[in-house]
C-alpha cells in the first residue's frame, strides 16, 4: 500500500473475479489493485510483492493468459460487473493440477531454482505464459521473457535451467537435469 495515496477508505463496490477457474464475488475498494484483492480479499498470498510500484515483477499473475504486474493493475480492470465478464486470472495457487505439481514447479523444486521462493510465483507464471506460446524457447528467448522479474537469490542460472527442463518435459521428453547443473563442471 502506497504511503502517498490521498483520501482514505472510499466506499467499496461489488465485483466478480475469475481466478484459477473459480468465480468469487468481492466487495473491494475501487482504488485497490489486483494484488491487494488477491492477497487481502481472497487470501491468495502466493502472489507476493517486492515494491508495489511495478519495478520488480514479483507480483506477476496472468490475465487472459498474459503476464501482468498485479500491483499496477486496478482490480476494476479485471473484475466483472454490469459492463462485462470478469477476465480470467491465473495465480500460483492454480498452477498445480490438484496434488500434482506442474512441470515448472517440479523443475524449480528439483534444481533449487526456488531459494527463498519469494520471486518464484512470478517467474513460474511468466515462464508458463512463455511456454504456452513457444514450447521450445532457446536460452536467449527465456532470458528476455524473464527480464522483468528480479530474483536476488539464484543468479537466474537455475531458473533458466528449470524452465528448459520443464519445457522439455512438457514436450513429452523424459529429460533429466544435466550433471553439471547439479554437481558443477
Amino acid at each position: 500500500m502506497s504511503p502517498h495515496s490521498e483520501s482514505p477508505t472510499p466506499a467499496k463496490q461489488l465485483g466478480v473475479f475469475h481466478v484459477n477457474g473459480e468465480t468469487h464475488e468481492v466487495a473491494f475498494a475501487p482504488h485497490h489493485t489486483l494484488l491487494e484483492v488477491l492477497r487481502e480479499d481472497l487470501g491468495l498470498t502466493g502472489t507476493t510483492h517486492g515494491c508495489e510500484l511495478g519495478e520488480c515483477g514479483t507480483c506477476t499473475v496472468l490475465v487472459d493468459g498474459t503476464p501482468v504486474l498485479s500491483c499496477l493493475t486496478l482490480a476494476l480492470e479485471v473484475a466483472g460487473g454490469a459492463d462485462g465478464d470478469p477476465r480470467p486470472i491465473e495465480t500460483i495457487e492454480g498452477l498445480a493440477d490438484g496434488p500434482n505439481l506442474h512441470p515448472l514447479q517440479d523443475a524449480f523444486a528439483d534444481l533449487g531454482a526456488s531459494q527463498c521462493g519469494y520471486c518464484s510465483s512470478g517467474f513460474m507464471l511468466t515462464a508458463n505464459a512463455l511456454l504456452r506460446d513457444d514450447p521450445a524457447p532457446d536460452r536467449a528467448k527465456i532470458r528476455t521473457a524473464l527480464a522483468g522479474n528480479i530474483c536476488r537469490c539464484t543468479g537466474y542460472v537455475k531458473i533458466f535451467e528449470a524452465v528448459e527442463l520443464a519445457a522439455a518435459r512438457l514436450r513429452g521428453e523424459a529429460r533429466q537435469p544435466a550433471r553439471e547443473t547439479l554437481y558443477g563442471s
Binding site: S2, P3, A109, C153, T154, Y183
Partner: protein, 840 residues
C-alpha cells in the same frame, strides 16, 4: 531428553579425532552430498510459504511509521492531535514511551524505537500509528506535525572528522568517530626494507544494499496472559528476543519470537528493527494484533548494507611475489547508527591473512558516524571491500614483477593447519585447486594478455568464514542447539532455532539427521526459529548455519542412534556395533535379514528407556587470537574461492559486457551439491551486481540556500540490480577439501563466492584496455575517465588519491606466531600517535 546438556559433555569428541567425520568416503553416504530437493521445496513452488506479510489475525490493525524528513535535527515538538482525531486511528506511539535503547552489539545499543529528541537520517522513525486499515494509518502519519530544529549535516567521513560537534551520538572514540582500531602483527617497516618491490594504492568501495525481494514485515500480538508473540522476517530471532526484552522491559519468558521463512536476507534482516519493537509495544498498548509491513522505500532506509570504505594499502613483496609486509588502512562510512559497525571495522582487517602467506601485517581502521541510513552486514560482511583492494593490488604487483597473477598466488598460498600473522587458524585449504580449475577452464595461460585490445581476463581469489568463532554478546553457551523427538510412529522431529532465509538451513537439519539415522529426509518434521519451542541458534549470519547447526544435529542424531541401537541390539540379539541404520531400517551388517523397521526400533527403545529424545549442541573451538579485537575473524573453518572473469570493453565509451565467468569454490564437502551450486551462482550474481551497477549513494544538493541530503535511489527502479538478461554464462566448479571442523567436512558456500567477482572484473578491465579502476562499482563512466586520463598522458587509472589524516591511537602489538607470539598483545614500543595520510 539426555541428562547432559551444556559444558564439556557437549563435545564428546574433537575435530582432530575425526568426530565430525570429514574422512567418510563419499560412497558411504546416502543423503549427504546428493542433489536432493529441499524439504520445503514443494511449499515454496506452490506459493504456500508463510512469509511474515502473509499472516493475519482476527482484530488485526495496521501500523505505519512516520519517518524523519530531516537528515539531522533536534525535535522541538510532536503534535499528534489531528492524527489521533481521525476516524479509524486506534493508537499512536511516541519515542518517549520507550526510553530503553537497543542495538545488535552490546557496545553500541544506540537506537531508540522511535526518535525521542533527535533524528539522525532521512528515514529515522519518529512516531507510529495503528489504524483499522493501511490508508488511514498513512494518512494519520501525514497528519502528525513535527517541529524540527535542523542541525549541521555530516555527509562523509571527511566531514565527520572535520565536524566533531555536534556529535551524532554521545559515545564513540571521539567527536563523530565511532571506532578506531590499530593492530600490529610483526614489523611492517622491516618487511618493506626486505622487499624487492613496495607499492601503495588507494581504493574506494561504494556502499550498496541487500535488496531482498521481500520487504520486512512483522505481526505482533500481545495476549491476555501478558505475553507477546511476534512473527517477523528476521534472520536473528534470538537477538530480536534479547532486544525486545530490553526495550519492552518484559521478562524474556513472556516474549515469543518466531522467525518466518525470509524472502531473502543477505544480512539485511540481521538487526533488531524499530518496526518490530514498535509493533510489539503498540500491540501491548492497544490490546490488539498489530501488523507492520514496510514499503520498498522504507527497506532502503533500514539498510544495514555494505559500508562505503576508503582504503590505503601498502605492500612489500620479493621478486617472486612473496609478501613481506602489508600495511592496510580502512575508513568506513558508518551511517547514523552503530549496528554491527564495530565488527565491520575489524572485519575490514581480519581476513587479509588467510589466503596467502603474509609475514608482517599492520591494520588500522576507523568508522565514522554520518547522517545516512545505517550500514551493517551484507553478504561477505566487512571483508568484501578489503578483498577488492588486496586482489587488485596483487594484480598490479604481478604486472610490476612480470609474473602470472595466478602463478604468483599459487606459489604463496597460506598453509593448511597453520596460524596466520593475526592468529587465524587455517583448516582445510583448497584454494590451490580452485585456482587451477578456473585457470584451466578459462584458458587463462593461453589467453590472458593475448586477447585483442578491448577483450581481457581477470582473476581474483578470496576466503570467508564458516561462522564467527564468538557470539555477539559474551557467553559460554553453545552457538547452536538441536533437539530430536522420536515418536513411536517412526517420525523424527527436529527442533532448532535456526532460520531459513532461502539458503536451505531447514533442509541441512533434515539431511544430517537422516544420514545418521538412515531415514528419508523428506519424512522428518523440522521445527525451527521459534523461541518458545526451539533451542537457541544464534541466527542466519556469518555463514554459520550449515557448520554449527549441522554439527549440533549430528550430535543429537548420534545420541538418538545410541539409544535406539541399544534397544535393537537386545531385541535382535545382535552386538550393537554390528547394527546398520539405513533405508528406514536397522539391521545386522552380517545378516541383513535380522532387521526391524525404524518405527519398530523406536518402539523397542521407548519400551526399554521411556520417551526418546536427545539434544545436541555446538560451540566453536577456542580461538588462538587472544588480543583485544581478536574476537572478529576466527572461525572453525574458512572457505576459499577463485574466479576468472572475461570482459569485452568498448574503448571508445567504456561500455562493457561480461560474457562468461569461471568460479571454483572450496566448500569442504557439499551437504547438497545442487544447493551449493545455487549458493555459488547466487553469490556470483550478487558480486556481479556490486561490480557493475549497485551503489547506495547520496544526493547532496542545495535548495534555496539549504542543504538537501537524500538517498539517491530508494527504489528498485533507480537502484539498479542485474536482470536475467545481464547474467553471463557461469561455469562452476565445486572443490571439496574436507575440513575436520565441519559436518562430514562441510564449510560455507553462501557468501565466499561473492568476494572475488569485483576485483576479477577490475583486473579483467586492465587486461582488456590497460587501465586500473580502483573504485567499485566499475562503471563505464569510470573506465572512460581512466581511458581519457591515459590518453592525455595522465594516470591510467580511476580511483581516489588519498585517505583522511587521522590521529591513530597506539597500536596493539601482537607478535606473530613465528616470532614466538602467543596470540596476546605485548606492551607497545611504538612512538606516540602520528598523523598518517595526506590532506584529508
Amino acid at each position: 531428553m539426555a541428562a547432559e546438556s551444556n559444558g564439556a559433555a557437549n563435545q564428546p569428541g574433537t575435530a582432530d579425532q575425526g568426530y565430525y567425520r570429514h574422512d567418510t568416503p563419499q560412497q558411504d553416504l546416502r543423503v549427504i552430498g546428493k542433489p536432493l530437493r529441499k524439504v520445503d521445496a514443494r511449499t515454496k513452488v506452490t506459493g504456500r510459504t508463510g512469509y511474515a506479510d502473509n499472516l493475519s489475525l482476527p482484530r488485526m490493525v495496521y501500523m505505519k511509521l512516520l519517518r524523519s524528513t530531516q537528515a539531522h535535527a533536534r525535535i522541538r515538538s510532536i503534535d499528534t492531535s489531528a492524527a489521533a482525531a481521525m476516524p479509524g486511528v486506534v493508537g499512536i506511539l511516541l519515542g518517549s514511551e520507550l526510553p530503553n535503547q537497543f542495538g545488535i552489539l552490546p557496545v553500541s545499543n544506540d537506537e531508540h524505537t522511535l526518535a525521542i529528541d533527535r533524528v539522525r537520517f532521512v528515514g529515522d522513525p519518529v512516531a507510529a500509528v495503528a489504524a483499522l486499515d493501511e490508508e488511514t494509518a498513512w494518512a494519520a502519519c501525514r497528519a502528525i506535525v513535527v517541529d524540527y530544529e535542523p542541525l549541521p549535516v555530516i555527509g562523509s567521513p571527511a566531514e565527520a572528522l572535520a565536524t566533531p560537534e555536534p556529535r551524532i551520538h554521545d559515545y564513540g572514540d571521539e567527536g563523530n568517530v565511532h571506532k578506531y582500531v590499530n593492530l600490529q602483527f610483526g614489523d611492517v617497516e622491516r618487511g618493506f626494507a626486505e622487499s624487492d618491490l613496495v607499492r601503495q594504492d588507494v581504493f574506494f568501495f561504494e556502499g550498496n544494499t541487500h535488496l531482498p525481494m521481500e520487504q520486512h514485515a512483522c505481526l505482533a500480538d500481545y495476549d491476555k496472559d501478558h505475553k507477546v508473540t511476534i512473527h517477523s522476517s528476521t534472520q536473528t530471532p534470538h537477538y530480536l528476543h534479547k532486544a525486545l526484552t530490553k526495550v519492552l522491559a518484559m521478562p524474556a519468558s513472556n516474549i515469543r519470537v518466531i522467525a518466518c521463512p525470509n524472502g531473502g536476507g543477505f544480512g539485511g534482516k540481521s538487526d533488531p528493527f524499530n518496526h518490530e519493537v514498535a509493533a510489539c509495544a503498540m500491540s501491548r498498548k492497544i490490546g490488539r494484533p498489530v501488523k507492520c509491513s514496510l514499503t520498498r522505500e522504507e527497506v532502503f532506509h533500514c539498510h544495514r548494507g555494505r559500508h562505503p570504505v576508503l582504503m590505503k594499502a601498502k605492500i612489500g613483496v620479493r621478486k617472486d611475489g612473496e609478501i613481506q609486509a602489508l600495511d592496510f588502512e580502512s575508513h568506513l562510512d558508518g551511517g547514523a547508527f552503530g549496528s554491527y559497525g564495530v565488527a565491520s571495522t575489524f572485519y575490514t582487517g581480519a581476513l587479509q591473512t588467510v589466503t596467502y602467506q603474509l609475514k608482517n601485517y599492520h591494520f588500522r581502521g576507523a568508522r565514522y558516524f554520518t547522517n545516512k541510513a545505517p550500514c551493517g552486514p551484507k553478504r561477505g560482511h566487512g571483508t568484501v571491500q578489503p578483498r577488492f583492494a588486496l586482489e587488485c593490488l596483487l594484480d598490479k604487483v604481478a604486472c610490476d614483477l612480470d609474473l602470472d597473477p595466478a602463478e604468483m598466488r599459487l606459489r604463496h598460498l597460506a598453509k593448511r593447519g597453520e596460524l596466520t600473522a593475526n592468529f587465524m587458524r587455517i583448516g582445510s585449504m583448497g584454494l590451490g585447486e580452485c585456482i587451477e580449475k578456473v585457470v584451466a577452464g578459462s584458458g587463462w595461460k593461453e589467453r590472458r594478455g593475448k586477447l585483442p585490445f578491448g577483450r581481457g581476463l581477470g582473476l581474483a581469489c578470496s576466503s570467508y568464514l564458516s561462522g564467527a568463532g564468538l557470539p555477539i554478546y559474551w557467553n559460554a553457551m553453545p552457538h547452536s542447539g538441536v533437539q530430536l523427538q522420536l515418536d513411536r510412529s517412526g517420525l523424527v522431529t527436529v527442533f532448532c532455532g535456526s532460520t531459513d532465509i532461502g539458503q536451505g538451513s531447514m533442509s541441512v537439519l533434515a539431511y544430517v539427521v537422516a544420514e545418521v539415522l538412515g531415514l528419508d529426509p523428506m519424512k522428518l518434521r523440522i521445527v525451527t526459529a521459534d523461541t518458545d519451542l526451539t533451542p537457541v541458534d544464534l541466527g542466519s549470519y556469518s555463514s554459520r548455519v550449515t557448520l554449527m547447526t549441522g554439527n549440533a544435529a549430528m550430535q543429537a542424531a548420534e545420541r538418538a542412534k545410541e539409544i535406539v541401537a541399544a534397544a535393537v541390539a537386545e531385541k535382535l540379539e545382535v552386538p550393537k556395533s554390528n547394527l546398520v541404520f539405513a533405508d528406514e531400517h536397522v539391521f545386522d551388517a552380517a545378516d541383513p535379514s535380522r532387521r526391524m523397521s525404524f518405527a519398530e526400533a523406536v518402539i523397542a527403545a521407548e519400551a526399554k528407556f521411556g520417551t526418546v529424545g536427545t539434544v545436541g549442541s555446538y560451540k566453536p573451538p577456542r580461538s588462538a587470537a587472544r588480543f583485544k579485537g581478536g574476537g572478529v575473524g576466527p572461525s572453525p573453518s574458512y572457505s576459499y574461492t577463485a574466479a576468472v572473469v572475461e570482459i569485452e570493453v568498448d574503448p571508445e565509451t567504456g561500455q562493457y559486457t561480461i560474457p562468461k565467468i569461471w568460479v571454483a569454490h572450496d566448500v569442504g564437502r557439499s551437504i547438497n551439491a545442487a544447493l551449493v551450486m545455487g549458493q555459488i551462482e547466487g553469490s556470483v550474481y550478487m558480486g556481479l551486481g556490486e561490480a557493475t551497477m549497485e551503489e547506495s549513494a547520496y544526493r547532496d544538493r542545495s535548495h534555496k540556500g539549504k542543504r538537501v541530503f537524500l538517498h539517491n535511489q530508494p527504489s528498485m527502479l533507480d537502484y539498479k540490480s542485474p536482470l536475467a538478461v545481464d547474467m553471463p554464462e557461469v561455469v562452476t566448479y565445486i572443490v571439496e577439501d574436507h575440513d575436520p571442523n565441519g559436518p562430514w567436512g562441510a564449510k560455507e558456500a553462501g557468501q565466499g563466492p561473492l568476494l572475488p567477482i569485483m576485483p576479477a572484473v577490475a583486473n579483467a578491465v586492465f587486461d582488456a584496455v590497460g587501465v586500473r579502476i580502483d573504485t567499485n562499482p566499475i562503471t563505464p563512466e569510470r573506465i572512460f575517465a581512466a581511458l581519457q586520463s591515459k590518453a592525455k598522458g595522465g594516470e591510467a587509472r580511476f580511483g581516489p588519491s588519498d585517505v583522511p589524516a587521522v590521529a591513530w591511537p597506539e597500536p596493539r602489538v601482537v607478535p606473530p606466531p613465528w616470532e614466538g607470539g602467543d596470540g596476546k598483545e605485548v606492551a607497545s614500543d611504538a612512538p606516540a600517535p602520528t598523523r598518517s595520510g595526506g590532506k584529508g
